[in-house]
């Protein structure tokens, strides 16, 4: 009698918890999804629905006019292509160089490697703003210790090219690269030493062991770094708006969107309606994050699993 009562109390408690949990998760999911839904709703509205009191979520007059305008003002397709090319290139190069460095720091210890790893940590801790100006000036007249002057006669101006991104990606110093090196190092430290020794006994050299055994094992951390690096490069406004002022990539286009809109979307001499501009701006934001959301829909399951299996946890 007592036991069954206790059991029912337990059951009652767990049922209550389920309800609380459900409410909480639904509520928070709503908070996250709300802005996206709102943008979708805004973007398919017609101009005339903007002031209609009846329309809250579902527009009376569907229209793709906003998309047309936003695509035109942002030069969307070219921008999309540029952004994709830039993000993909830096992502692949960053992942490669960070994997090398991570493995070097985890398994191929040499004199002073701990000191150098402290350097990696330092790159994570120093805010990028602190070194922005010298890096900017350096890239403006890029002169590899006089090497450029020797070859071309004058230092090269790398601003408004993709070179700053490629160079920092090759050398594992791009956006948040310190974090990626840290992730790789943690992961490689978790692989048992015996695996490596077995490969050596079987006659594989160090580079071969790395390419054939370590990298295939590191797929979870590779996926994590690939995705983080791609997404953060895509969204990055800090470096792109400094180095790529005239090139058309998503984040520079987004940050100049309000200005461009005011310039280009005005009917005749009269000033454009700010609400209408805001409507197109929201559509522009939606267009900018849409590719990421689509990619995420496909890889999210794999992403979550691989992060869980990554060495972040150490």
């Amino acid at each position: 009698m007592m036991i069954s009562r206790l059991l029912s109390l337990e059951q009652w408690k767990s049922w209550l918890w389920s309800v609380v949990r459900f409410t909480l998760i639904t509520g928070l999911s709503f908070v996250i999804l709300f802005p996206i839904f709102q943008k979708i709703s805004t973007s398919i509205k017609d101009k005339s629905d903007l002031y209609s009191a009846v329309v809250v979520w579902i527009p009376q007059n569907f229209s793709i006019e906003n998309f047309k305008q936003a695509i035109r003002v942002m030069d969307y397709w070219a921008t999309l292509l540029n952004t994709f090319a830039l993000s993909a290139t830096t992502t692949i190069l960053t992942t490669l160089s960070c994997a090398l460095a991570g493995y070097g720091f985890a398994r191929l210890k040499f004199k002073g490697s701990n000191l150098l790893f402290a350097g990696v940590i330092l790159t994570i801790l120093v805010p990028p703003t602190t070194i922005l100006i010298p890096v900017y000036l350096n890239l403006k007249s890029f002169d590899l210790m006089g090497l450029m002057t020797l070859i071309a006669g004058k230092p090269a101006n790398l601003l408004n090219t993709y070179w700053p991104f490629i160079l920092t990606a090759i050398t594992a110093n791009s956006l948040k690269a310190g974090l990626y090196i840290f992730i790789f190092r943690q992961f490689f430290r978790g692989i048992p030493k015996e695996v490596e020794e077995a490969a050596y006994v079987d006659g594989a050299g160090i580079s071969r062991t790395f390419a054939r055994i370590m990298l295939p094992n590191a797929i979870p951390s590779i996926v994590t770094v690939l995705l983080f690096s791609f997404v953060w490069q895509w969204n990055d406004s800090f470096y792109t708006t400094t180095y790529l002022t005239s090139s058309k990539v998503m984040s520079t286009q987004l940050s100049s969107l309000p200005y461009n809109l005011a310039q280009q979307v005005s009917d005749g001499a009269s000033k454009a309606d700010p609400f209408y501009l805001s409507m197109i701006q929201d559509t522009g934001i939606l267009l900018a994050i849409l590719p990421l959301i689509i990619i995420y829909l496909f890889v999210q399951r794999y992403f979550v699993e691989s992060v869980e299996r990554t060495g972040i946890v150490g």
């Binding site: 998760i25 210890k109 801790l125 900017y136 990055d236 984040s251 999210q300």
Partner: protein
């Protein structure tokens, strides 16, 4: 010669070979570190102590001592305010983000229908949280109008505030909590990575620990405080550091530093500001590490 080199290479011990390869593997990073981090860091320190004039020949740098620092701290009107503002923001947000993400990680780790969907929604902010999008969002008129037409969040929390004050809670506690409710979107959108880290950590805790404690009669609440918290405490530390660094990377202060540099072209002043900012962050990180190093539980 080649044969000699090969023999020399071959005669090295495995450990020596590894060390040599280690240098090769780390070399790309090292080049980048020197070129794009270390030299610029020193240069920035030098700029902060100089007055910089751009002219036809390039730039001329004149040593002026601490003048830039003095100007930043005493003359410039917005510097102190931005600095203090961003530091208080961090102190307010970091505990909220860390506690919130730990709580959510625990929930997302439980088994319930729709868990996969819930997880993918909660990690969505990792890909959406971006400087430009956030900035444009805050200027969006439509967003503002929609919010006020829905009654606004201010009204809702106002009633709860009164309720909590009546219940006898301290005023600052109430303000902190209601502020947290108002900033829920900001907090949720900044805790994606932290939730991931905690979730991964919780899943490495061996289930035997929970089973054993259950046998001994511990409730879920006790198990959380006596097992989960100590086991993830190193990750709490990691997440606190990550959150601090992350929230310092993009805020009013960095905007001010960039504007001083690239709009007003006062490179010296901008560098000085950046250094004061960096030192402030470093001090905070050292204090936080000292506090945590005593309390973190390591299994080995």
């Amino acid at each position: 010669m080649k044969a000699l080199l090969k023999r020399k290479w071959g005669r090295r011990t495995y450990a020596q070979q590894k060390a040599a390869w280690g240098v090769i593997y780390v070399l790309p990073w090292l080049i980048g570190f020197v070129l794009f981090f270390f030299v610029p860091l020193l240069a920035s320190l030098r700029y902060s102590l100089s007055s910089i004039q751009a002219n036809a020949q390039g730039i001329s740098i004149q040593f002026t001592g601490l003048a830039n620092y003095i100007q930043a701290l005493t003359v410039n009107t917005s510097f102190n305010r931005a600095l203090i503002g961003s530091i208080t923001d961090v102190f307010v947000n970091v505990p909220l983000i860390v506690i919130f993400s730990l709580f959510l990680a625990v929930i997302l780790n439980q088994k319930f229908p729709g868990r996969a969907i819930a997880r993918s929604i909660f990690f969505l902010p990792v890909i959406l949280a971006s400087g430009v999008i956030m900035a444009l969002e805050s200027t969006s008129l439509i967003e503002a109008v929609n919010q006020s037409s829905m009654g606004g969040s201010a009204l809702g929390t106002f009633e709860i505030e009164n309720l909590m004050l009546d219940a006898g809670l301290g005023e600052w506690v109430v303000m902190y909590l209601s502020g947290a409710v108002d900033r829920i979107y900001q907090i949720v959108s900044q805790s994606g990575v932290q939730i991931l880290i905690f979730l991964a950590g919780i899943q490495t805790i061996s289930p035997q620990l929970y089973e054993a404690s259950k046998m001994e009669g511990a409730t879920g609440y006790e198990a959380f405080w006596k097992i989960t918290i100590p086991m993830v405490s190193p990750l709490i530390f990691v997440n606190v550091i990550y959150t601090i660094v992350d929230s310092f990377a993009n805020n009013a202060m960095t905007t001010l530093i960039r504007d001083t540099g690239f709009v007003k072209f006062d490179f010296g002043l901008s560098s000085a500001m950046a250094w004061v900012y960096f030192v402030a962050i470093a001090v905070i990180l050292v204090i936080v590490s000292l506090i945590f190093s005593k309390r973190v539980f390591y299994q080995d």
